[in-house]
């Protein structure tokens, strides 16, 4: 991907004065009471113009319930403190009380823009602990659904990013295309969001008849619309002006701050778990890992726009290569018997009842599995004590970690750019707070 930076844009790459940001001096570390004393004295005319500006948690541009405490001097942002936890749901505690089959129901509500990825990470971790193989068709169905989910998630980003920057019509367009993808999801999983579709052992149901036609329709429909966005946004001077050179980050900073996903790639560091640590069947499909050049908000926008195209390219290959066979493993330990057998066989009924009441026992051990979600590395750390519930279930949310880059991206920028930076980091608060 190539993007042009206007003359004189500080790319941040290799500039020595930016290295100091790694020590975290851009992070505001005060309590609310401390912030009161930090701000300048309003009665003293000689005092500087430093003040603390509070954004959120109910603010239209903070993507939900993110709250930022910004230390400002005039219109310049000095230090920032992201205050999170307004959506803390205790999912990791709840996950310890749910069986492995119920687990995806819980984790799917974390990243509600890309729910299937949380389910995938949880299911892969459970399968690793169980030591079971998933049939190829289940693997490819998972890939198909995840890539379409990535498309939906990036479209959501385009919509909200446009809205935050004042391109309100973009919001309507983004939702319009996302709605098309959701319609397919509803057909397959029964729900528009929070699907609980990918489960340990496979997927909940096979694809419906005629799914190829629906997917082909999406493949015909979305790429021309993406070209429209290109015309609408990418070449538009006002839009570029608001994003280029705003929120710049170097690869070294991104690695030190544990940033992943489009933020890391925008700095020019080609890292994608799908390519570099392949899971599912990503080693059998052909796609490009897109990187930026300058590590600014515009690169992050362009990466997401073009990743949508790459995802559709993967979907096209999945369409041709989808194998036939079972959609879930035939391991009797984790898979309930088919519905028809429950009517005939007492044992099947008991088996079904046992699986859905008690659950299955998972061998003792601990495992960490990571997948590439639209926001970065989504990891699941599972500890099993041999019982039917996870002993500890931890999700490494990419948004939670990526949020730490906010103070560094905003430092020295204007308050209006802060909105562009939040939007380009694309945090989903459900995943941040869990």
């Amino acid at each position: 991907m190539s993007t042009e930076a206007p003359e004189g844009t500080d790319t941040g790459l290799g500039s020595a004065e930016r290295v100091h940001r790694r020590d975290g001096s851009a992070v505001l570390r005060v309590s609310e009471a401390g912030a009161f004393h930090l701000a300048g004295d309003p009665d003293n005319p000689d005092d500087d113009e430093r003040m603390i500006l509070n954004m959120g948690p109910s603010h239209p541009s903070t993507h939900g319930v993110l709250r930022l405490m910004l230390e400002m001097e005039g219109e310049t942002v000095l230090r920032t403190k992201p205050v999170i936890g307004y959506l803390h749901t205790g999912m990791e505690k709840t996950g310890e009380n749910l069986s492995y089959l119920q687990g995806p129901t819980n984790v799917t509500r974390m990243d509600y823009a890309a729910p299937l990825f949380s389910e995938l990470a949880f299911s892969l971790a459970t399968e690793k602990l169980l030591g079971i193989e998933v049939p190829p068709r289940a693997t490819w169905i998972r890939m198909l659904m995840c890539e379409l989910n990535r498309v939906a998630s990036h479209l959501l980003f385009q919509a909200t990013n446009g809205m935050d920057l004042g391109a309100v019509s973009m919001m309507i367009y983004g939702w319009r295309e996302r709605e098309e993808v959701l319609r397919f999801f509803e057909k397959v999983t029964g729900l528009r969001m929070n699907h609980n579709y990918i489960r340990p052992g496979g997927v909940a149901a096979d694809l419906p008849d005629g799914w190829q036609d629906d997917v082909r329709r999406l493949l015909d429909l979305i790429p021309p619309r993406l070209d429209e966005y290109d015309t609408l946004l990418t070449g538009q001077p006002i839009f570029r002006e608001r994003l280029q050179g705003v929120g710049v980050m170097t690869p070294a900073e991104a690695l030190a701050l544990s940033a992943t996903g489009p933020i890391l790639r925008s700095t020019g560091y080609a890292w994608d778990l799908r390519r570099d640590e392949p899971y599912l069947a990503y080693d059998q499909v052909d796609f490009d890992v897109l990187v930026g050049t300058y590590g600014d908000s515009f690169d992050r926008f362009a990466i997401r726009l073009n990743e949508t195209r790459e995802s559709l390219r993967i979907v096209e290959q999945i369409l041709d290569q989808m194998p036939s066979g079972d959609y879930r493993t035939q391991d009797k330990k984790v898979t309930p018997p088919p519905r028809v057998r429950i009517d005939d066989s007492m044992e099947a009924l008991i088996h079904h009842f046992k699986i859905f009441t008690e659950g299955f026992h998972v061998p003792e051990g601990e495992v960490y599995v990571a997948v590439e979600s639209p926001r970065g590395e989504l990891g699941c750390y599972l500890v099993s004590d041999g019982g039917p519930n996870p002993y500890r279930m931890h999700i490494r949310g990419p948004s939670f970690v990526n949020l730490q880059t906010l103070p560094h991206l905003m430092e020295g920028g204007l308050i209006a750019d802060a909105v562009a930076v939040i939007s380009s980091v694309d945090p989903i608060m459900g995943e941040v707070d869990r």
Binding site: R22, D23, G24, V27, R29, S31, I84, G85, H88, G90, E92, K93, T94, E96, N97, K128, L255, A256, L257, S258, A259, T260, Y269, W271, D276, E277, E364, G365, E366, V367, Y368, A370, E377, G379, Y381, V383, D385, Y391, R392, H394, R396, F400, V401, L403, Q404, D433, R434
Partner: protein, 157 residues
């Protein structure tokens, strides 16, 4: 590597078991080896599961365990460090100086488990309100189920 720590493997991933006072030296060595990113910092409370079998013989199991995942992108390698933390003195040295990205994760562990990190610049609660009491992910803290009451619900017979 200058520090010798017990090493095991879990599902093809390297797992190291340093003591809390070995942690900084071990992590420093790994950082020099190219593990430039701390992917994850979390903790586990083994209060109700004391007899775990996946620890090497010379590691004494304790109640808490801080789990740090490091990642060397260039080498395509991951390593996990499991640090045993005693319940009566839950303090671990902070990795913030080497990995600034662990700031929020260590705060999360402090918030939910009550394990504090020595040398962390801002050891405060992150997810729960500041005045919250207790650390909910500890095993001796209840999930906090509240029986949901419905108005005009039939009286129990």
């Amino acid at each position: 590597m200058t520090t010798i720590v017990p090493e095991t493997s879990s599902f093809d991933q390297r797992v190291l078991h340093p003591l809390p006072d070995q942690l900084l030296a071990t992590v420093g060595d790994l950082h020099d080896e190219g593990f430039l990113t701390a992917v994850d910092v979390t903790a586990v409370d083994y209060l109700t599961h004391p007899g775990r079998t996946d620890l090497p013989a010379d590691v004494c199991p304790e109640r808490f365990e801080v789990v740090v995942s490091l990642h060397a992108h260039q080498r395509h390698e991951r390593v996990r460090l499991r640090v045993q933390v005693p319940a009566d003195d839950p303090v671990v040295p902070s990795l913030f100086d080497l990995y600034p990205g662990t700031e929020a994760m260590e705060r999360e562990v402090f918030d939910l488990f009550g394990i504090s990190f020595d040398g962390h610049p801002d050891m405060t609660r992150i997810l729960l309100p500041e005045e919250w009491e207790g650390h909910p992910l500890r095993k001796d803290v209840d999930t906090g189920r509240i029986p949901v009451q419905f108005r005009e619900a039939p009286v129990q017979r």
